[in-house]
């Protein structure tokens, strides 16, 4: 076992050896090394987060035909550090009548709900925080804490815009949790496990090819969970000024902002893990764990880019449209897709791989097509009822 095959274990053993050499208790040394590992992961994520600010600003600039930050450092790379200095030296305000403890706790919980997700992310076959047998559900549980942080921020600010923004965001998150939970069942059906590492290991064929509709619904639910356009009603600048984080200034606002960026990148990563084979890429992950981490980061970046692409292309929808879309279309479709997938999986259980993949693909396409047809006829009927009088006149000429 050398460093290049299993770097984390070798480094941990080496450190534990040093601590034991100082006469430290073996259990205590183990706990201390685990803490150091968590600390290291969080530092890497926060540094990555600083870099993500630059990535997001550069990409949005490209989508909007601008240059983006280009003054501080080469390609504007130092810009995020200038932003951080600005956020740090801003006055830290607390609105009058705010609930101080809850108000200050909300940004911390918001950031923590994102960081905690990385506990179950397998970066490489041998590099992962916890090998949790319910990793998929852990995703939803962390989302629940994120929801809580937003409702806390909205309520404790003692501001009507913040409260409305908080309510809206919670309505979005609670609604879209259901299709997301249903779509998490699809990799579970294919792999027979809720463990993230097992899900990746069993993806000899990317689950995106077996269940493209599932991947699409998961992406939509993830974007809604992130509160990004077209589901960014919580921040609707034109109606709510800034939404739930309106009263926050300086680094407290920075925590919400950085948390959102890292959350988007994390969901890009989960999209890659659940539907695009995670760290696997034509056997390259076997060469070195470092290569596997690189593959996962690149895939997560591509997922993040797709999320940004949607955000800067689609416009914001109204809350009634959002709720109707979720409850009347996405949730029933998600449940039907889970039923179809489970049924097709049972029927094709003994089929060869090519038949299994093409059968599943076909089942997905048919489900999606049927859902769109039903939605089309329903909207047609609704439109006819609304414009009933006008319809004959158009036909006659």
């Amino acid at each position: 076992m050398n460093f290049w095959n299993d770097p984390l274990k070798v480094a941990a053993d080496w450190l534990e050896g040093i601590f034991a050499g100082w006469g430290m208790d073996a259990v205590l040394a183990h706990v201390l090394v685990a803490f150091l590992g968590v600390f290291l992961l969080i530092i890497i994520l926060m540094v990555l987060d600083i870099f993500l600010v630059w990535v997001e600003r550069k990409v949005v600039a490209r989508f909007q035909d601008r240059l983006g930050p280009n003054r501080v450092g080469p390609f504007g790379l130092i810009q995020p550090f200038a932003d951080i200095i600005k956020l740090m030296i801003k006055e830290d305000t607390t609105p009058g009548g705010a609930d101080k403890v809850v108000y200050n706790l909300a940004p911390i919980l918001s950031m923590a709900s994102v960081l905690i997700l990385w506990a179950v992310v397998p970066l490489a076959p041998v590099m992962l925080g916890v090998d949790l047998n319910v990793g998929v559900l852990f995703l939803i549980a962390a989302g629940a804490i994120g929801t809580l942080s937003i409702i806390m921020a909205g309520w404790s600010s003692n501001n009507k815009f913040a409260t409305i923004g908080g309510f809206r965001q919670v309505a979005v998150m609670v609604s879209f949790e259901i299709p997301m939970l249903a779509m998490l069942m699809i990799p579970v059906i294919f792999s027979g496990s809720m463990n993230m590492n097992t899900i990746i290991e069993s993806q000899n064929v990317w689950y995106f090819l077996i269940s493209p509709l599932g991947a699409l619904i998961f992406l939509i639910a993830a974007i809604a969970e992130l509160g990004r356009a077209p589901f960014d009603l919580a921040e609707g600048e034109s109606e709510l000024v800034a939404g739930f984080n309106i009263e926050y200034s300086g680094m407290k606002f920075g925590m919400f902002f950085a948390g959102e960026l890292l959350h988007a990148f994390t969901f890009g990563g989960f999209w890659a893990i659940l539907f695009f084979g995670g760290y696997r890429f034509f056997g390259l992950e076997q060469v070195s764990p470092f290569l596997a981490v690189l593959i996962l980061v690149i895939k997560a970046m591509v997922g993040y880019w797709v999320i940004m692409w949607v955000r800067y292309t689609v416009m914001r929808i109204r809350i009634d449209q959002m709720l109707a879309f979720n409850w009347k279309f996405l949730t029933p479709l998600a449940f039907v897709l889970v039923l179809v997938t489970a049924l097709a999986d049972a029927l094709l259980a003994s089929a060869p791989t090519w038949l299994y993949v093409s059968g599943m693909f076909l089942a997905n396409v048919l489900t999606g097509w049927a859902a769109l047809e039903i939605a089309r006829s329903a909207t047609h009927k609704e439109r006819e009822q609304l414009e009933g009088a006008k319809q004959p006149a158009e036909v006659s000429h």
Binding site: D99, N133, A141, A144, T147, I151, F167, V174, M194
Partner: protein, 169 residues
């Protein structure tokens, strides 16, 4: 004392403390947030018992759904979130007596139990707890009937909620 015992004692103290805060704090939203803290403590206790699935489901269901709905309902229905009425009514001593009697009864029943001094058998590393739970829920020899009854009950509640909210034209 082992590390696990220390963690358990801290968790138990934290859970009880926040549980006490739920019933004593005067601000209703604070009470709901303390309830969230209590439910977290219960989830940690499940995790200490190696029941990962139950621990995560505890957070998803109780914090993600029920506590959020509590907070929602409190915020939307109450104009003044502060309660100025006395926190005890004149029957407080009956409640206290019942609590003491229940505790004494449990203590009496459990004092002869041999399980306190035993350590739990180690779980084999290959044991699939989630799979075993899933199979138990749908196996006719185990819990399929209670599971189905609970499902029907939830479905009835769902239909009832839809009926109440349905706008008859």
């Amino acid at each position: 004392m082992t590390g696990e015992q220390i963690i358990f004692l801290i968790t138990a103290g934290y859970t009880l403390g926040s549980g006490l805060m739920v019933v004593t704090t005067r601000n209703l939203v604070h009470a709901a947030l303390w309830l969230v803290a209590t439910l977290f403590g219960v989830a940690v206790t499940y995790a200490l018992l190696n029941a990962n699935f139950i621990a995560v489901v505890q957070i998803v269901v109780y914090i993600g759904a029920i506590a959020i709905l509590f907070i929602f309902a409190v915020m939307l229905t109450r104009k003044d979130l502060r309660d100025n009425t006395p926190q005890m009514n004149k029957n407080w001593w009956v409640g206290a007596l019942l609590a003491v009697l229940t505790f004494a009864g449990f203590a009496f029943l459990l004092q002869g139990w041999s399980g306190f001094s035993k350590t739990a058998a180690a779980i084999p590393s290959e044991f699939d707890a989630v799979g075993a739970l899933g199979e138990a829920l749908v196996s006719p020899n185990a819990y399929v009937l209670p599971f189905e009854v609970a499902s029907v009950l939830l479905l009835a509640a769902l239909v009832g909620a839809v009926y109440l909210a349905f706008n008859k034209k």
